[in-house]
Each structure stands twice: as structure tokens, then as C-alpha cells.
Symmetry: C2
DNA sequence: GTCGGATATCGGACCGTGGTCCGCTTACTG
DNA sequence: CAGTAAGCGGACCACGGTCCGATATCCGAC
């Protein structure tokens, strides 16, 4: 869907130092991912064991864990393409979400987009976001960096690191599974709540009380780390 | 420490419909809790298995699970006394935390108190707050109710339910384990961040823009559900 | 007071699952 | 075509959680 293997594509050697993957390994990896996604969709994520995925994909359990490390990491890998697309929209997309809009509005758009993503993939995401390494996963790191930059731009005086973590906690999978699914708050209410939260948190763009926030660098630098990790 | 079995004590039949606990059961329960707490402290929560706790307490594994249901529930039970004390302070304590202060200040005090609690018991709490039933646990329910009331008092126009969940997410055990322990943000910074977050979220008590917020009922109603559940 | 039965409790054998290990196999390299 | 290292796979382990026969406790009857 993105970053195809087209040989004419621009090389980013610093970001792609991992060409050596044996052919059979690549084949198995792809088969595992497809099989896992299919089983997840057919029977529900929590009703599919790693043994079943391995058997259905025609590989040994050891292979499964060698390639993905854990159940959570496998779920993350299943979503990695879509996750990358979302990141792409953040960094190079159209203005409400992508660069160009005021940081506060981008922050609101980020949360709303994330909520859409949660609705779509809640089950798999909930499986992906367990264990302590969930905070070190590539998508989480990207989101954190993004939020921190936006917060700093919108209000250089705030504790951007703390606020980043606090806000991300309200966009996590288990948060949505509980608030959105168990308590059945409708998506629109969650989006409205998020927008209001951000609006209260950050100064109004109309009032020019933060003159230094004129989008200094716009974070166009390097591409995000590919989701393969 | 609380609700002793003194026969002369005032009876609250609606809240204590569970007197029938066999003598040996009570003895075992106490022994299990003490043993678990000791083992947790000695070797770290994550290095103690349920089998070990059962063996050290001199009971069978079945007893352990019959009484507590799950590892998370056992951890919760270990903390229940301290948790009850905190709830007590919320409902009947001195004004910054207890009733009497402005809701916004109580909310700030609540978060700071909760952070202290997290610092003290991070490991056990992290074990207690796993699984989907963590949101239905008695302490969580009490916190939620408390926050929702305070938010409604401080600003009747806000979406108190959404904000409650969003704020509680920033006071959860895994949040602290990551932000406070892994990223090593000092406690004082977390407290300051929380206070600033609440301050930005809610209108200033000085400005009387919320005339209806004069602490209408002060939630003195019934005692909280005892932690035994 | 003690006896007997209904019933809650006990405890360890048992299961499924996530995760690890290590000898065998298979694909790349010169 | 041989060497080599990466990949592979299934036996193995530890742990959380379940089940059911054996056992102890309580309560009413005598």
C-alpha cells in the first residue's frame, strides 16, 4: 500500500538497513500476517490462540515467536500497514490533520482520527496494547513525538511531555474498549469530549497570547521509522 | 483496621449482608493476604506465582482462586485496606481532599493523593489493574463517582462522564509505571502537571461564572461499599 | 450436650495458553 | 558445489485458571 519495493524509489539507507531477509522467511511472514488477520476477523481476536495461527499458517510455533516475539507484537504487526497510513496522513496529509493548520486544530484532528482508528480496529489494538512494551512501540513513539511537538507549538509554556502522556492515555485501546464499548458512549460524544478537552487545555488561536507559536519547523524532517520493527 | 466485628457497633444491614463466613475461611483469607503481601514485598510482585502464594500460605490453589477469583483481584484485595483509607479521606477527610473546599481544588488534591498512592504501591497496583474488570472494581467505581460529582459541581456544562474517564486514565497504575518509573518524571512534576491540567480544564473559582456550583448535597450519603467484594 | 445431615470449603490433579529451546533443514555466497 | 548461517519446528516449560471428590463447619433436633 505504501513504500513499495519499486527499485526506482528513492533509497533511505539510514532507515532501511534491513534488506537481508531470506525469501522463505518473507513468504512465511506474509502468510502468517494474512492468516492472523483472517482468523482474528473470523472468530474474534481473543478466541484465537498462537498455536492456531501457527497451524493455520502452516508454520511451527517457534517460527511465529521468532518472527514476532509475542502475541501483542503480532497484533501490532497485523495493523502496521494501516498504522503507517495514519502516520503518513499526520506528516504529509491535508491540513486539518496534516501540516498547515493551527497546532490546536491539528491536535483535535489527531484525536478524532485516532478515535476513528480505534473504532475500526478496537479488538486487535486492544490485543496489541498489552504489556509494558506497548509504550515503546513504533506507533506510540510517533504519536508521542507528534503530540509533544504540537503542544509545544500551541503553548510553549506548558509541560508538553506530561500533557502528551496524559492525552495519549485518553486515546488508548483499553480506554476506548471501556468507555466506547462497555459504557457505550457513542463515537460522536467521544470526539466532542476530546475536542472540548483540547480546547480548554490550549489557548485560543484567535487570542495572540502565544506569539512564538508560529509553526517554527513544521516537523517535515525524516520519514517515520518503518513499521517492520 | 475498619469495620471491626465488635458486636456493639452500629449495624448497617444493607451494606453488610455477608456475615456468614466460616471461621476457617476467615483464617485462611487473612493468612493468604498476609503471605501475599510479604512475598510481594520480598521478591517483587511479578516474580511471585499463585502457586507459590498458595504453598506459602499453606492452602491449595483452588482455595486461592475460590476466594479471590484471579491474580488481579488478589492484588486488589491486598491493597483494599489502604484503598479504603484513601476513600475515607475523600469522603470525610480534611478540606483540601475532603468536603469543604472548592471542587476544583478537591480535584487537584484527589490527583495528588492518588499519585502518592501510586508511588507507594505502584507494583501491586499494576498487577491489580489488569484485565477488563479493572474498570468495574470497587475502588475504580468510587473514584469515578467522586470525579464525576466534582466535575459537575465545578462546571455543570462540561461532559463530566467523558472527562472523568479521561482524567482517570492519567492516574492509572500503568500510566505511572511508564511515565513515573520508566521515563523517570519525578513525582513533583507529575503533581504539577496534574494540577495545571485541572486548572486549565475548569473555570477559575475566583470568577463566579458557575453560580450553581455551591456544593449542593456534598455526597455524604452512604458509606462506600466495603472492599470485601 | 451431642448427633446428624446439609452445605460451604478445601486442595491438588488437570487443562489451555503464551513463550522458550535446540537440533535439523534450507536458502544464500564464493 | 561445499560451507555457513539463518530459518525452522515441535517438544518442552511455567503459569493462570478450573473442577470435583474429600473434608470440615455450622445449625437444628432431640
Amino acid at each position: 500500500m505504501h513504500l513499495p519495493a519499486s527499485p526506482a524509489a528513492i533509497e533511505l539507507p539510514l532507515l532501511a538497513p534491513a534488506p537481508p531477509e531470506r525469501a522463505d522467511a518473507a513468504r512465511n511472514r506474509q502468510r502468517i500476517l494474512c492468516t492472523a488477520e483472517r482468523l482474528f476477523a473470523e472468530r474474534g481476536v481473543s478466541c484465537v490462540s498462537m498455536d492456531e495461527i501457527a497451524a493455520a499458517a502452516g508454520v511451527g510455533k517457534g517460527t511465529l515467536f521468532r518472527r514476532f516475539g509475542s502475541r501483542a507484537a503480532l497484533a501490532m504487526a497485523v495493523l502496521s500497514e494501516r498504522e503507517s497510513a495514519f502516520q503518513e496522513a499526520l506528516i504529509r496529509g491535508a491540513p486539518p490533520l496534516g501540516p498547515g493548520a493551527h497546532p490546536r486544530d491539528r491536535l483535535i484532528a489527531f484525536g478524532e482520527g485516532r478515535l476513528d482508528f480505534l473504532v475500526e480496529h478496537a479488538e486487535i489494538l486492544a490485543a496489541a496494547e498489552i504489556g509494558p512494551e506497548r509504550f515503546s512501540s513504533a506507533p506510540y513513539e510517533v504519536s508521542r513525538l507528534h503530540l509533544t511537538l504540537l503542544l509545544r507549538q500551541a503553548d510553549p509554556g506548558c509541560d508538553a511531555e506530561y500533557l502528551t502522556e496524559a492525552l495519549l492515555a485518553a486515546l488508548g485501546a483499553d480506554f476506548y474498549v471501556y468507555v466506547g464499548l462497555a459504557r457505550e458512549l457513542p463515537l460522536e460524544r467521544l470526539k466532542a469530549g476530546w475536542a472540548e478537552l483540547v480546547r480548554r487545555l490550549l489557548p485560543d488561536p484567535g487570542a495572540d497570547c502565544v506569539p512564538g507559536a508560529r509553526l517554527p519547523a513544521e516537523e517535515a524532517g525524516t520519514a517515520p521509522a518503518p513499521a517492520g520493527a
